[in-house]
């Protein structure tokens, strides 16, 4: 058996003869272009959440945003091997991995440590989904939290801001912004910005993200309520 292509002869993914040019959609001057999946610029992908995806976990959640699918499991609590003396704070260990078939070109298999920067790159678009799903899984595990955390990203393409971009759109972006926040407390937990932004655009993008976060929060809460009322019956 060839383990993840290592010993196998070099393989490649056949690509189309013609390269997709940026001009077909996403041209700077043109404001009428359509997004590849037909959404409006300020329209998020339909979000679906469900808790209790993994039976053996203390808490788990499944999230589906268009074609992006995420499962988060929470295990524990476990005894910390590193703690030498008594400590009154716990630790949250996070681990993210991506299937080899998640990207158009087959992924890097189990050696993703070496390629963690690439993995990070590949995950960029999905990170807000992962974060939202993780907060739901923690809630499902019954861990006390200040609030749920919802994450949304915005891409800047020329003069346009598009919310919740897909991979294809991110490949053409000039800049991106991701906000994760606790909507009920109206607190931003994380904000990351890359690329070139004007102050006005940045403000607009942040507002756009925060609005979307509070909408996402409603969907997540509805999912938790549904699960809780189902378990009562």
């Amino acid at each position: 058996m060839a383990s993840t292509g290592g010993g196998a002869p070099g393989t490649y993914t056949p690509t189309p003869t013609k390269k997709t040019q940026r001009s077909s959609f996403f041209s700077d001057s043109d404001v009428d272009w359509l997004r590849p999946d037909g959404r409006g610029f300020h329209q998020c992908r339909p979000a679906f959440f469900r808790t209790g995806a993994v039976n053996s976990a203390a808490g788990s959640a499944y999230a589906e945003f268009g074609n992006t699918k995420v499962i988060v499991s929470v295990f524990g609590p476990r005894e910390s091997k590193k703690a030498m003396v008594y400590s009154d704070v716990g630790r949250l260990n996070c681990n993210v991995s991506c299937t080899t078939f998640a990207t158009p070109v087959r992924g890097l298999g189990s050696d993703n440590k070496e390629f963690s920067s690439m993995l990070h790159k590949a995950l960029e678009g999905d990170l807000p989904v992962v974060i939202s799903c993780a907060s739901l899984a923690l809630a499902d595990a019954g861990i006390m939290m200040y609030d749920l955390v919802a994450g949304v990203s915005v891409s800047c393409l020329g003069r346009n801001l598009i919310i919740d971009p897909i991979l294809e759109e991110e490949n053409f972006q000039d800049g991106s912004l991701m906000i994760t926040c606790m909507p009920s407390r109206y607190e931003v937990t994380q904000l990351s910005i890359t690329g070139e932004w004007s102050t006005a655009k940045l403000n607009e993008a942040m507002q756009l993200c925060l609005d979307a976060c509070s909408k996402l929060d409603k969907i997540m809460r509805a999912c938790l309520k549904e699960a809780a009322s189902a378990s009562l019956d």
């Binding site: 002869p9 070099g10 995806a53 993994v54 499962i71 078939f101 158009p104 298999g109």
Partner: protein, 303 residues
């Protein structure tokens, strides 16, 4: 901790849940003597099984299989390779089984699961020895180009009978597989023929005329059983596997021929009648699984 003999007397007084955790073996044996299992199954029955094809949009073929809570996601990506000189007109299949830390509390991040490479090898052996796939069908240009099918199976929830669920998802992914249309360009490289080009006149003939499916002959299916004393438990859960350690996995193909028989040790020896019973249970199970697979495929065709 009390002596094991004390458990018999305690069972009447102790709470069921406490008894289950303190004396798991006794707890199970009490059930088995009544010919029932704690999840209300008879001994020989497998858990509810579902199959969904085409779960991964970015793959050429994919399937999600569930046996009880055990969940497997299999996806196939097709890439082009130069075939080896020994077999110039054959493609290749690379199978990898993954157990990410989300699937079970036993698997910790950074420490790969011990079971994963074992199941990986078992899957490759089973799929190649069953002769389900004719590797010649994966050839594109003899000696120059052939398909390499990367089959990756991810365990999303590990609750026993991992091999059975993995094999089911694997064969389902192969039956869902659509081989893309490609042609050979001037540089001798295989390129994808996109949907728009299909109608237009091509300067080069496509190497394979149309999107096609692999012809699968004699599909292998499996059933794992636990041998414990005189009992045979089909399709064990993770809890059952952790308590009673003698496992037997039988693989039969769709015409009920034996593909493989796997018994990795354990404290109980399999006598002839136990082996025959396991095979008989598997024969039953193969019929069920074949129906489930057929149903999933016909469900896809309607869409």
């Amino acid at each position: 901790m009390g002596v094991p003999d004390a458990s018999g007397d305690l069972s009447s007084e102790m709470e069921v849940d406490a008894f289950r955790h303190l004396f798991p073996l006794r707890y199970f044996e009490r059930h088995l003597s009544e010919s029932i299992r704690p999840d209300a199954r008879p001994l020989g029955r497998a858990r509810d099984t579902t199959l969904a094809l085409g779960a991964v949009a970015s793959a050429h073929g994919s399937a999600l299989a569930k046996i009880g809570s055990t969940t497997m996601l299999a996806a196939i990506k097709m890439e082009v390779m130069i075939p080896s000189t020994e077999s110039p007109d054959e493609g290749c299949i690379a199978i990898d089984f993954h157990m990410p830390p989300i699937c079970s509390p036993i698997v910790r991040p950074g420490r790969p699961a011990e079971a994963a490479p074992v199941i990986s090898k078992q899957l490759s052996d089973t799929i190649s020895s069953s002769g389900m796939i004719n590797l010649k069908e994966l050839s594109l240009v003899s000696g120059k180009a052939a398909w390499m099918a990367y089959l990756d199976i991810y365990c999303l929830d590990a609750d026993g009978a991992l091999f059975d669920a993995a094999l089911l998802s694997a064969v389902a992914a192969f039956s869902h597989l659509q081989i893309p249309i490609v042609s050979l360009n001037d540089d001798g490289k295989i390129v994808l023929v996109s949907e728009e080009d299909e109608g237009a006149k091509l300067e080069k003939e496509p190497v394979n005329k149309e999107k096609r499916k692999l012809k699968l002959s004699s599909i292998p299916f499996s059933l794992t059983c636990i041998l414990h004393k005189n009992y045979i438990l089909a399709d064990p859960t993770a809890e059952e596997e952790s308590i009673m350690e003698t496992l037997v996995t039988v693989v039969l193909d769709s015409s009920a021929r034996l593909v493989s028989f796997y018994k990795p040790g354990g404290s109980f020896l399999a006598n002839t009648s136990a082996v025959q019973d396991c095979v008989a249970l598997t024969r039953q199970r193969v019929k069920e699984l074949q129906e489930i697979l057929d149903e999933a495929i016909s469900g896809m065709e309607i869409d």
